[in-house]
C-alpha cells in the first residue's frame, strides 16, 4: 500500500486549494458542502456553533479537535441524524438541512459511525447487499416474487464481491458480521457505505480501535476513495493519519472552527496546539449533555459531603 501515487486527475484539484487562505471558514473554489450559522445546544452547552464551513470537492478533508469539540455532533447534523437549533447547509448546491437522514444518504452523502454499526446477526455479505440502493426486492409488493429481484440481487452480489476482495474481507463473507474484529468492522462499514455509491463519504474516526497492522491498509483504502473521484471528510485523533493522507484540515474546539489550512500549516499553528493541550479529559463522551449534567451533579454531591 505504500506505493500509492496520486493520479494526474486529482492533482489539479489539490492545486486549487493552494490559493485558499489558511483561515477558519475559508471559501473554496469548488465546494461540495457549504454551511452557514450551524448551531446545536445540549442543555446549557453549545456543542456546535459554526459560522461558515465549506468542504472542497474531490479531496480528503480532516476534521480534528479535542474531545467534546463538537465534531461528531457536526457530522450528525450534516447527515440529518440530529436537528440543529439553527443553520442551513447545501450539498451540491441543494439545501439539505431539512432533509431526513435517509434522503441525505440517497443523494450521495454517506457516513460511517464512531462506534461501528455493522449488523452483527447478518452475514458480511448480507451487510454489503443491504447497502445497495434502488433494490426492487426491498419493495413489499415485489418482495414475495423472487423472479422479480433475482437478477438485480445477482448484480448486487457481484459488486459486493468485488468490494469485499478490495477490502480483503472476501474470505469472511458468509460469517456473521458479529464475528469480525474491530478493524474488520471498520473496513466492512466503509465497504458497505461504498455500496451506496456516494459522492461524499464521511468517516467518523476510521482508525479508532484498529490494530496497527491494519492501519496502513486502511489509510490506503481512504486514499483510493479520493483517487476514484470521491470526496472524503473524516474525523480523526490519529495525527499521523491526518498528516499522511489529508489534503486540508479543519480544526474545531468548543463547537467552533478555530483553524483551517493545509496539514503542515495547521500543525504549526499555536492555537491548534493550545486547543489540544487544553483538552483536559480523556474519556470520550458522545452525549455531551447527559455527561455535563451528571458531572455537575457529581460535583454537587462531593461538595455536599
Amino acid at each position: 500500500m505504500d506505493g500509492e501515487q496520486m493520479t494526474d486527475a486529482t492533482l489539479p484539484k489539490l492545486g486549487a486549494l493552494v490559493d485558499v487562505p489558511n483561515e477558519p471558514g475559508a471559501k473554496k473554489p469548488d465546494p461540495i458542502v457549504v454551511g452557514d450559522d450551524i448551531s446545536r445546544q445540549f442543555g446549557g452547552l453549545r456543542a456546535v456553533d459554526v459560522g461558515h464551513i465549506e468542504i472542497q470537492r474531490g479531496v480528503i478533508t480532516a476534521l480534528i479537535g479535542p474531545n467534546g469539540a463538537g465534531k461528531t455532533t457536526l457530522f450528525n447534523l450534516l447527515t440529518g441524524f440530529d436537528q440543529p437549533d439553527s443553520g442551513s447547509w447545501t450539498f451540491n448546491g441543494q439545501p439539505i438541512h431539512k432533509v431526513p437522514a435517509f434522503k441525505v444518504a440517497r443523494r450521495g452523502m454517506v457516513r460511517t459511525f464512531q462506534l461501528t454499526k455493522v449488523l452483527s446477526k447478518l452475514s458480511v455479505m448480507e451487510n454489503m447487499r443491504l447497502g445497495a440502493t434502488g433494490q426492487m426486492g426491498e419493495r413489499w409488493w415485489m418482495a414475495p416474487f423472487r423472479f422479480l429481484w433475482e437478477g438485480q440481487e445477482r448484480e448486487i452480489t457481484e459488486r459486493a464481491d468485488e468490494l469485499l476482495v478490495r477490502f480483503k474481507l472476501d474470505a469472511k463473507k458468509e460469517d456473521f458480521a458479529g464475528s469480525l474484529s474491530g478493524g474488520q468492522r471498520k473496513l466492512l462499514e466503509m465497504a458497505r457505505a461504498l455500496m451506496v455509491d456516494p459522492e461524499l463519504i464521511m468517516l467518523d474516526e476510521p482508525m479508532a480501535g484498529v490494530n496497527p497492522a491494519l492501519k496502513q491498509s486502511l489509510l490506503g483504502h481512504v486514499k483510493s476513495l479520493r483517487d476514484e473521484g470521491r470526496t472524503v471528510l473524516f474525523v480523526e485523533h490519529d495525527m499521523d493519519m491526518v498528516r499522511d493522507i489529508s489534503d486540508w484540515v479543519i480544526v474545531m474546539a468548543q463547537g467552533r472552527i478555530v483553524a483551517e489550512g493545509t496539514p503542515a500549516a495547521v500543525m504549526a499553528d499555536q492555537r491548534v496546539i493550545d486547543a489540544y493541550l487544553g483538552a483536559h479529559h480523556d474519556t470520550d463522551l458522545s452525549d455531551l449533555d447527559e455527561a455535563a449534567i451528571a458531572e455537575q451533579v457529581m460535583t454537587e454531591i462531593q461538595e455536599g459531603e
Binding site: F42, G43, D82, Q83, T283, L285, D287, D289, E290, A291, I293, A294, E295, V297, M298, E300, I301, G304, E305
Partner: protein, 460 residues
C-alpha cells in the same frame, strides 16, 4: 446468590400474607358480606377473561331487573338496599305484554322471554315501598335483546340525578375530583419514573404494585381487623419491602446477566400477569370494600363538595409527593438517583454504588405505588384489576410529561387526572372516560414526541 434467594423468599412471603390470613378464617364465603350482596350487574364493569363466579345469575333468555335504593347504601348493600315486592311488567315491540314478575329479597326480578326483540319494562309504582320514588319515568328505555341470554335493565331510584347543578358547579366539582385522581396517578407515576430513570426499565408490572397496596390494606383491615389507617400504613411498608425484594430477587440478577431492556420489559409483562393472577386467585374477581370510610357525607364548601376521606387523600398524596420531590432535590441519595438517571456509566465510574441507588429507587418507587393503591382503595374499592386499569393512565401521564422526568410525571398526572374527570362534562361517555386521556396522549406524541418536559435528545 444467597441474598437473591432471601429476597425471593421475602417477596413470596409478602404475597402469601393474605393467603395465610384467609386460611385462618372459615372458608365459607359468608365472612365477607360485600361478596354475596346484591345481584346488580354493573354493565360497565370490566369483564375479565375468566368468567368466574358472579353471584347466582338468572339463566336463559329473559329480562332481569334489579331494584336497589341507591340513596340507602350500607356496608351490607354497597350498591343500595334492595327493594322487595315491586311488580314489573315486560312489553314487547308490538306493545303486547310478555310477562311480569315481583322482585325478591335481593331486589331481583326475572321475566323469561322467548324471542329476540326490543322490550320495554314497566314498573308498577303502587307496589313501591312507602317513601320510595322513581327518579325517572316508570317505563324503561327500549332494550334490544341480541342474545338468548339474560338482559339487564336498570331503574334509577334514589340517585341524586334529579337535582340540576349548574355547569360551573359541575366543572368545579369535576376539577376537584380530577385533582384528587391526578394526585393518586401522580404517586404511581412518580414510582414508575423513579424506576425508569435509574434502570431504564418500562415496568409493565407496575400496575400490580398499585394493586398490592390496595389488597394488602384490605387484608389487614378485613382479615386481621386493623383500622384502615393502620392497615394502609402496614401495606405501604410491606410494599416497600416487596420493592426491595423484587429488585434483589429478580431485577438485580438480570442486570448482572446483562439482559437487554426490551427483554426485561417482556419479563415485567410476565411478572405482571403472574402477580395479577395470584391476586385474583387469592381475592377472587369480585370487588370489595374496606370496613371504614366507605360512605361519607360530603361537606359543602360552596362550589365543591368533598368528603373527609377525599380531603385526607388529597393531603396525604400532596405531602408524600412533596416529600419525595424535596428528597430528590436535597438529599445525597436523591442527587445520586438523578445522576444515575442522567448517565449510569459516568455515575458508576465516579465511584458511586449504582446498585444501592437502584435498590433505593425500587423501594421508594414501590412504596409510592403501594400508597397510591391504598388511597385508591379508600377512595373507592379493592379489586385485583384496580392497578392494571390505572397503569394505562400512569403510562399516559409519564409519556405526556416526558419519560423519566420527575416534574414531567407530576404535570402529566395532573393533566390526565383532570381530563379523565372533566371529560364527561364535554361529551366523553362516562363509562369510558379514560378514552379522552388516551386521545390527548396520542395528540401530544404527534406534536411533541418527547413529552411536555422531556428533552429532545433523549429520543432515539
Amino acid at each position: 446468590m444467597g441474598l437473591r434467594w432471601l429476597a425471593l423468599l421475602i417477596a413470596g412471603f409478602i404475597l402469601a400474607i393474605p393467603t395465610a390470613a384467609f386460611a385462618d378464617d372459615d372458608p365459607t364465603p359468608s365472612e365477607s358480606p360485600s361478596e354475596s350482596s346484591s345481584a346488580t350487574v354493573d354493565s360497565t364493569a370490566t369483564p375479565t377473561d375468566v368468567t368466574t363466579e358472579e353471584p347466582v345469575k338468572p339463566s336463559g333468555p329473559g329480562i332481569a331487573v334489579t331494584l336497589v335504593n341507591s340513596s340507602d347504601k350500607s356496608k351490607e348493600f354497597p350498591k343500595g338496599r334492595p327493594l322487595e315486592g315491586v311488580t314489573l311488567t315486560v312489553i314487547d315491540s308490538s306493545g303486547a305484554e310478555v310477562g311480569s314478575a315481583v322482585t325478591d329479597a335481593t331486589g331481583l326480578a326475572f321475566i323469561p322471554v322467548e324471542a329476540l326483540d326490543t322490550y320495554t319494562v314497566e314498573l308498577d309504582e303502587d307496589t313501591l315501598p312507602d317513601g320510595i320514588n322513581l327518579n325517572g319515568s316508570n317505563q324503561s328505555d327500549p332494550v334490544k335483546m341480541r342474545l338468548m341470554a339474560p338482559t339487564y335493565v336498570d331503574f334509577p331510584i334514589g340517585a341524586t340525578k334529579g337535582e340540576k347543578a349548574s355547569f360551573g358547579d359541575k366543572l368545579a366539582q369535576s376539577l376537584a375530583s380530577g385533582i384528587k385522581f391526578g394526585l393518586i396517578v401522580a404517586l404511581a407515576a412518580l414510582g414508575l419514573s423513579l424506576i425508569f430513570g435509574t434502570t431504564g426499565l418500562t415496568n409493565f408490572a407496575h400496575g400490580e404494585l398499585i394493586t398490592l397496596g390496595g389488597v394488602l390494606t384490605y387484608t389487614f383491615n378485613r382479615s386481621v381487623g386493623l383500622p384502615v389507617i393502620l392497615a394502609g400504613l402496614v401495606a405501604v411498608l410491606l410494599s416497600a419491602g416487596f420493592g426491595w425484594a423484587q429488585d434483589k430477587g429478580l431485577w438485580a440478577p438480570l442486570r448482572r446477566r446483562g439482559t437487554g431492556l426490551i427483554a426485561m420489559m417482556i419479563v415485567s409483562i410476565g411478572f405482571g400477569l403472574f402477580l395479577r393472577s395470584i391476586f385474583q386467585y387469592i381475592y377472587s374477581s369480585s370487588t370489595k370494600t374496606l370496613s371504614q370510610y366507605t360512605t361519607q357525607g360530603a361537606h359543602d364548601f360552596g362550589i365543591i363538595k368533598l368528603a373527609d376521606k377525599e380531603i385526607a387523600i388529597i393531603l396525604i398524596a400532596t405531602v408524600a409527593i412533596a416529600g419525595v420531590c424535596v428528597a430528590m432535590m436535597k438529599t445525597r441519595m436523591g442527587k445520586a438517583m438523578r445522576a444515575v438517571s442522567d448517565n449510569p456509566a459516568l455515575a458508576a465510574s465516579s465511584g458511586m454504588r449504582v446498585d444501592s441507588v437502584i435498590s433505593t429507587a425500587w423501594v421508594l418507587g414501590t412504596a409510592m405505588s403501594g400508597l397510591a393503591g391504598v388511597l385508591l382503595a379508600v377512595n373507592s374499592q379493592v379489586n385485583f384489576l384496580m392497578g392494571f386499569k390505572l397503569l394505562l393512565l400512569v403510562f399516559a401521564a409519564v409519556t405526556l410529561g416526558g419519560l423519566g422526568t420527575i416534574w414531567g410525571a407530576l404535570i402529566g398526572s395532573m393533566i390526565i387526572g383532570i381530563i379523565v374527570e372533566v371529560g364527561p362534562l364535554f361529551g366523553v361517555p362516562s363509562s369510558i372516560k379514560e378514552v379522552g386521556a388516551l386521545v390527548v396522549l396520542v395528540l401530544i406524541l404527534l406534536v411533541r414526541p418527547q413529552g411536555i418536559l422531556g428533552r429532545r435528545e433523549r429520543i432515539g
